[in-house]
Amino acid sequence: MLRILHGLPGLFAVVFLATLAVTGSILALAPALDRAGAVVPPAGDVSVAQMAGRVVSNYPGTEQIVRDLSGQVVVYYSRDGQAGANRVNPVTGERLGAYQPSAFFVWIRDLHRSFLLDTPGRMVAGISAALMLLICLSGMVLLARRSGGWRALMRPLAGTGSKRVHAEIARLAVLGLLLSALTGSFLSAQRFGLLPEVSDPGPGFPAKVSGGQPRPVDQLQALSEVDLNDLRELVFPYPDDPQDVYSLTTTGGSGFVDQATGELLQFQPRSTGSVVQQWIMRLHTGEGLWWLGLILGVAALGVPALSVTGAIIWWQRRRSSVQVQDNVTVAEADVVVLVGSEAGATWGFTRALQTELTKAGFRVHCAEMNALAHSYPRAAMLFVLTSTYGDGDAPASARQFMTRLRDFRAGSALKYAVLGFGDRQFPNFCQFALEADEALAGKGLSRIQPVELIDRCSAARFSEWGDRLGTAIGTPLSLSHDPVPPRTFRLELAQRVDYGLAVQAPTSILRFRLADAGQGWRSWFFRARRHSLPAFEAGDLLGILPPQEGQDARFYSLASSASEGVFEICVRKQPGGLCSGYLHGLKPGDSVEAFIRQNPGFRPATGTVPVILIGAGAGIGPLTGFIRKNTARNPMYLYWGGRSANSDFLYQPELGHYLKDRRLTGLSTAFSRSDERAYVQDRLRQDERALRKLVETGAQVLVCGGRDMAAGVKQVFEEILQPLRLEVDDLRVQGRYLEDVY
């Protein structure tokens, strides 16, 4: 719902919003340009009387002097019957140049205000501003939800590709956009009479003036008491009219000055309403606040980028989302199916279940786990189908489930069953499904049948589960869903570097290229196809299909990103290992079938917080990839463990190079089969105090490699964190302790 609220207005108003934003950011330059051209003496140096005297000596026909909020002083005068306007130096009264509002800026402003369409255009601009407000607010809530709370908004963001870019830009720009949208909507609402507008009529013209001999303007008492920097406008009396007066407007209010006595008449302070009104205007235009203007301008430039990335996200979601058919509402449903999924595989199974249940006459409501309702008034059965991600964590569509479950009121008749989807290659197999099952039991619900776990989307196991369920509910169900295998592509081994043979830990760095990119038209064709490959970054996974029939894909952590044009992985040969053995037997030119699995949860933080990288053996692959990408030279420390510096020191030359050009701040190695007989955990323990300091300054920890190493590292970190009264889990919740473990 919120997502629709966020996306739909954007989709409809994108042209208008982008126009408003681009013109707005051009207009935002005006206050800074004006300020740069203005002469502003220090407060207390020049009075209005002094300034007016000097101006009049240069411009005897002065009619009006205006000082705008940027400090620019403009004199309106008449000479030989012709009117003129010049910018003047208020200290000397001399001309700085003609005052000619730039036709370009006027045009841009009209485009911004009304799309050059006058009143209907103004209405569209006003509605667009209101939509922008809606988009900003809903976007903030969405982002906070996604990052896990409002305070998490300040932390490094997870995600890949457009999603990540969209969130990063939004986070930087949202406050500026909110201010612009809020003030813009306000001004527009006033313009169309939806909100009252404060107007300060100013004081009435004085009933009586002295009518005496006028004095020169620089000798008028009331004007010598006003500092130039407080002046807004001084209107001169009509020439040769002794009954006329000066009109004076200052930042504090307005009144009149008798041209003979120099007395201030009828002064009326500015009303609070008008001060507020003016501030709203200034906060929108940045007038006299050049720095705010520039901030707002830069924020506005984010809008076109947000529109494009937003549209891409919407398109991707549309393509991948499964349209739920025959879905009944929460109030009507007698069966509820909740789905936890990250990449969408679990949705396929859900659809099969929903179709079967509907066929059997049930009224089924199907939704993501994050959309758990407060209660399901008529439901008798609740099914939860969920995958597991990260390191036994909830997938994207289930991240709010546990929190929402706290407010859930289950009717006494409601029974449930959980089906977990996962992969035994990961250490915490279907962990989240198990936790969801426990949590529901903890709410006092009873099970239809015990939780079951499905490894690697096995269609057979799913079908068996359906049979058992059918028996349990007394309605036979025949569930069949054979998930489409991931779209694979052929990779060709371009280069391999072998390490570790001497220490019985054969590990190779393998660099693949997209195969078939031959000569002539074929290379064009395949180069074009390359663009349809999923984007990937270091830390994502490369799935490799072993050549043997019926074998599941094995995952390898990528050390390169798509922009480098190669797929680089680091593979340790397992004794008797099917896939690792196959990979180690490859010669340059041989090819493999592979696919990409994104792993956005394993990424170093952007920004300037220190990053501590820890790995052993082949786990160094993605870590080296992160260092390679660290062209911003953020502090990065690498702790790595191998067997022998002479044999399996992976990436040794490259790491030396990164140390030299400061992409890598510090490197600490441990070798278990050398004299030191040390493990990476020992190195961490040695640097305990330094590491604790780094964590205190907000450092992020990334661990990659085998599960035994990871368990050891976690143990050491618990010790390091103890004096800070922190646990690894606390860091984990903040996205500051990430693992890629196998």
Binding site: Q64, A83, A85, E197, F205, D241
Partner: protein
């Protein structure tokens, strides 16, 4: 003052029977291509000593900008009764405003002056952009303004 206002009031009031000495006068104000937003204008009469006597027309609907028409604003004190029923839309750059009013004969050839104040957002205000005596002789003769007015004339 009252009497003149009454006479000026004839311009729009059909309720009052036309005075025998009333005359139909057309004021034509053509603007320059100054290239800004719509101009606010006030056409008004002053007496021989330059004092405000009454409003002929105000172009521009938003009274919050009226203070920029400073000569007229002073004279009329921006009292809505002074311009009630005598307002219209602001005039776009390069366009012409034509208004026809019934004026008391006594106002012609008696030292009264027609003045036009003009103002455009973010551009200068022109007090007395045009100031011409209202005389039989001057009728039909265009004069140029000092600010945004390219030419101004009245005919009767």
């Amino acid at each position: 003052m009252k009497k003149i206002l009454l006479a000026l009031g004839l311009a729009v009031s059909v309720a009052l029977p036309a005075l025998a000495q009333a005359r139909e006068v057309t004021f034509t104000t053509e603007l320059l291509d100054y290239g800004g937003d719509g101009a606010y204008m006030a056409l008004y009469l002053t007496d021989a000593s330059g004092a405000y006597r009454g409003t002929l027309w105000v172009a521009g609907k938003k009274s919050k900008y009226y203070k920029h028409l400073s000569g007229w604003a002073r004279g009329s004190r921006l009292d809505p009764a002074e311009y009630d029923g005598l307002t219209g839309a602001s005039i776009t750059s390069g366009r012409t405003l034509k208004i026809t009013l019934d004026l008391d004969d006594a106002l012609i050839d008696s030292g009264h002056e027609v003045r036009v104040d003009t103002a455009v957002e973010d551009m200068r205000d022109n007090r007395a952009d045009v100031a011409v005596p209202l005389t039989t002789e001057g009728a039909g003769k265009p004069v140029s303004g000092r600010g945004y007015v390219r030419s101004f004339r009245y005919d009767f």
